[in-house]
Structure formats: C-alpha cells, structure tokens
C-alpha cells in the first residue's frame, strides 16, 4: 500500500468507525422493526389505495409489498436509507481528501515533492473508495446475518448482493462526482454542493418523475432512475448488471476528467 493511501486511511479512521457503528445500528433497528408490520393486512389494504406512483417512490409494488420481507427491506433500506447515507459519507470524504486538503493549504508542500499529481489524486481516490466500500460491507453483512432472526426470509443471496451492489454503485458515483469536481475546481464547497445536488436532486427527480408527466422524459438524468426498474431483491442480478457497470464506468470517467484538469491547473491559487 502506498504511503499516500495509508496516510489518507489513517487520517479518516476514527470518523469511519463512528459511521460504521451508526449504520450497523440503523440496519439493526430496521430489521428489528419488521415484526411490527409483518403480515399486517390492514396496512396492506391502506397501501393498496395509495397511487402507484407513490408506491414506486416508497420502493414497493404489487409483488413486493410493504409487509413482505423483500418489500420491507427495499422500502426501508435499499431504496433510500442505505444509498443516501453511503453517498453522504462518500461526498464528505471525497471533498475532504483532495479539494479540502488543497483549501487548507496542505497540498502545496506535498506536490512540491517529486511525485506526480496524478499519483496523489489516484491514491486518494482509492482511499475514498476503500472507505466507502468498507462502510458498505459491515452493515450489509450484519443485515444479512440478522435477517432470518427477524423473519426477513425468502431473499436469495443474489437478491441481497445485487441490491447491495446497486446501493454501493450509486454511492461510488456520487463520491466520484464530488471528487472530480473538487479536483477540477480546487474548491471543497463547490465539490460538496455538486455531489449533494446530484444525490438529492437525482433522488427527487426519480421520485417526482413518477408523479409529473413533464419530468418523465428527463428522468433518465437521475442515476437513481437507472436502477429503478430493477427489483434485485426479487429478481437478483437481472436488470442490475448493466446499470451497475454503466454507473461505475461513468464514475471512472469523471475521476479521469478531474485528473486531467488537476494535472494542468494551478494548485492553491485560490
């Protein structure tokens, strides 16, 4: 492991542990609450009256009902909570590791050394990926292990992995956007604003496009939409593989574009 990568990971260690604890507790709480609504016929009947568009928003449909294990896990975790929390963490880390360091005046001495800017950028990008993926792995495992204990049964291994991978891919894309904008502009604030706008705006667009016919044609602008038609908890990897690869490819392209600019522009001139 390179010294730069190791230093970046060491620096973020403590915050990472707290985030992991928080996500594990959230997963535990969600799994534990399933017993309260499992098989509740009244709740199902109420939700049956809810318009389709709103149910899509909640991450449920006719087959994947709220009171079924798959519908419940999807609506409480994979459709919103998990990718959003992972994205928030990823955006913070990505903005801090490069643009934040630059704004604090800490890249100047580092980049005066005989090290290529691209090396610094790539090593810290991998640090961000390792941190986000690490935060992803622990609560995911906890949830899979806990699920049977709380009657969250009937979800296949492919279902769990595909749904989790989709959440991770979205978070990686939001992290990449933030990192790339930070590399391009050298501004932590602009990087965070862009990452947050894409995450929140994308989520809203995907949601509202189901309600508004004006927004429907542009809903593909939201990365969330790319995964919206797949139901990985039921169907496994079908419909997930292609958007997953596309999302990761886009993330890589964004980081490459950021690197291109980062190698050419002025450092710390702001």
């Amino acid at each position: 492991m390179s010294a730069l990568l190791a230093a970046a990971l060491r620096d973020r260690r403590r915050a990472w542990i707290w985030w992991t604890v928080a996500l594990v507790l959230t997963a535990f709480m969600i799994a534990g609450s399933f017993g309260a609504i499992e098989g509740q016929q009244e709740l199902e009947e109420t939700i049956a009256d809810v318009p389709d568009s709103l149910r899509v928003l909640m991450g449920i449909d006719d087959e994947m009902t709220l009171t079924s294990p798959a519908g419940y896990v999807n609506s409480q975790w994979f459709a919103n909570m998990f990718p959003i929390l992972l994205s928030i963490y990823g955006i913070g880390v990505a903005a801090r590791l490069l643009a934040g360091e630059e704004n604090a005046g800490r890249l100047e001495l580092l980049l005066a050394h005989p090290v290529a800017r691209r090396r610094v950028l790539v090593d810290r990008w991998w640090a961000a990926v390792v941190l986000v993926a690490g935060l992803f792995v622990v609560p995911s495992l906890v949830l899979v292990v806990l699920a049977p204990m709380f009657d969250l049964t009937g979800i296949s291994v492919a279902g769990w992995t595909a749904a989790s991978a989709a959440s991770l891919a979205l978070a990686v894309l939001h992290t990449a956007v933030t990192y790339a904008v930070g590399a391009w502009t050298g501004s932590r604030a602009v990087a965070i604003a862009t990452g947050a706008a894409l995450t929140g705006g994308g989520f809203l667009l995907q949601s509202l496009a189901n309600l508004s016919s004006t927004l429907r044609p542009v809903r593909w602008l939201s990365p969330w939409q790319w995964f919206a038609d797949a139901r990985p908890l039921v169907d496994g990897w079908d419909g997930v593989t292609v958007p997953l690869l596309a999302t990761l490819a886009l993330a890589a392209a964004l980081v490459a574009a950021g690197a291109w600019r980062f190698e050419r522009r002025d450092i710390g001139a702001a």
Partner: protein, 291 residues
C-alpha cells in the same frame, strides 16, 4: 557543465488583469545563496510557486536544475519550505517526515532524528498541538533531512527565536558548502543580509534590482553624527555627497551618499572626537526600492 540551479526568462503570471509576476529574469548558480526580497504582495510567493511547478506560468520560461518544474523528476533534488506551512493536525511531525521521505523514496531516520534534536523539536506530537515555531521546525527538518541541490525557502525563519535562527543559518551554510543553491525569500532585509551572496528585489511583480550585498552597501546612504572640537563653523550641507547637513553644538549631523572623506576634509582644523553611525543604511536603501 551543469545547468543553473534556477533560470527564468520573462517569467510571468497574470491572474486575469492582475499581473502578479510580470517578466522576471533570474539566474541562480549552484553554491550560491540568493536572497529574494520584496514587500508582501510583490509577487515573491507567486514566483516561488512557479519554481516548484505548483502554478503554471502565463508567460516566459522557468527551469530548475535544468528541468521543467512541472515534471516530477525535475523536483527530485529540490527541497521546499512554503511560506504558509500547513500540516495535517492529526498527523505527528514524524509521520509527516516519513511520508515526505517515502515520496522521495529515501528516508534517513537517523538524520531526521538528529535534526529534530538539534532544533529541540518533539516529532511525536500531532501537528495540531504544535506552536507556529514548532511547525516551522518540522518544515525545516524536511528540508535538511536529505541533501538536495536546490533549496527554495519562503520566509524560512518566521516564528523562530534568535538561537534557532542561528542554527538555521548554520544549516544553510552547510548546504551551501556542499554546493547546493539556496533561494531564500523574505520581506525584511536582516533575515537575508547575513547569509545571502546576492539579492534580488521584487516590487509589483518586477525585479527592480539584482546586486551583491557589498554592491548594495556601497550605494547605501549613511546617517552619521560627527562630534568635533571646537564646534564646526563650516556649512557641511554644501560638501559633495552630503544630502542633508546641519551643525548642532559639537555635533555635525550628515546624511551622506558616497565616501566620508570630503566631509572630514571640510572639517580640517577640528579634531574629530567621535563618529556615530545611525544606520540602518541597508534598510533605508531597501525602503527606497520599495517606494
């Protein structure tokens, strides 16, 4: 023949309409200490950042040790001490030194430890807990923990007490003795006066003069008080080289440009009791360049 340590031609950096650096020619040879002087905002740090490839010039050329500073290999034998030195507050001084060593693919822990001891620095503390002076010491250790051929130091002694400044000057002398070039910026003359062979004075992005310290001194004005007996009766203001002169009892006050002899000749017949210098002469001269 080895390339010059620093060579710039018409080097310029414009930020929009602001001409931070506006056409600078610098030549610094190996084994030379070059003082780079100018008031704050004159373009010193901008120039230095271009020497290290951090800023890309908008005009002219720059080479360090014969290479383009934007190429990492060109910086392999260059050490840098930034004017605004910032460290990760959570990392210790030693962790920084190890990281910088790793980036050069060579880390002499023994030497780094010796330098820390010499400067009375505890490298095991997180940088966030260090005073400004102690952080500066971390910066100084990373400069000298490896024998580089070019040292670029931006206001290096800020935050150091006089004893540590002396230590720092000794380290500089050592680097110079083994043939390194040293480029040293400051906004105050005394910081470089003792160590520099030549100085360049920059004002508003342009190099207004390059001279040796001796040359500066020769052109410098002197403010003197000559106490004579009996009191002088001549009008010293008319003597060649005297810019201002007046007699006050036994004392003759002169502001002089050039040699003192004509004044003493005019005072022939008086015995000179004492000559008092009020000089900050180089400082005066230096301020003259600033205005």
């Amino acid at each position: 023949m080895t390339a010059a340590a620093i060579e710039t031609r018409a080097l310029a950096k414009h930020f929009g309409a602001v001409k931070a650096v506006d056409g600078i020619d610098l030549d610094v040879q190996r084994g030379e200490v070059f003082g780079f002087l100018g008031p704050n905002g004159a373009g010193k740090t901008t120039t230095i950042r271009m020497l290290l490839g951090l800023l890309r010039p908008t005009g002219g050329t720059v080479s360090i040790l014969g290479g383009d500073p934007s190429v990492p290999e060109s910086r392999a034998r260059v050490a840098y001490l930034p004017g605004d030195l910032e460290f990760d507050p959570k990392m210790t001084g030693w962790q920084h030194l190890e990281l910088f060593g790793a980036l050069r693919r060579t880390f002499d822990a023994t030497r780094a430890r010796e330098l820390c001891a010499q400067l009375d620095l505890d490298p095991s503390r997180p940088c966030g807990e260090l005073s400004k002076g102690n952080r500066q010491k971390v910066g100084i250790v990373q400069v000298f923990m490896r024998d580089c051929d070019l040292l670029v130091l931006d206001e290096p002694t800020s935050g150091l007490d006089p004893l540590q400044q002396q230590l720092f000057n000794d380290l500089l002398a050592g680097a110079k003795a083994r043939g390194a070039a040293i480029f040293l910026s400051s906004h105050v003359l005394p910081e470089v006066e003792r160590v520099a062979d030549r100085v360049g004075i920059i004002r508003a992005g342009r190099l207004v003069t390059v001279a040796t310290i001796d040359e500066l001194r020769r052109g410098a004005r002197q403010r003197l008080t000559i106490t004579v007996d009996p009191p002088a009766t001549v009008d010293v203001g008319t003597v060649g080289g005297v810019l201002e002169g007046r007699v006050e009892g036994d004392d003759v006050h002169v502001l002089l440009e050039g040699p003192l002899q004509p004044v003493l000749d005019a005072l022939a017949g008086h015995s000179v009791v004492r000559i008092t210098s009020h000089d900050d002469d180089l400082d005066d001269l230096f301020l003259g360049y600033y205005r």
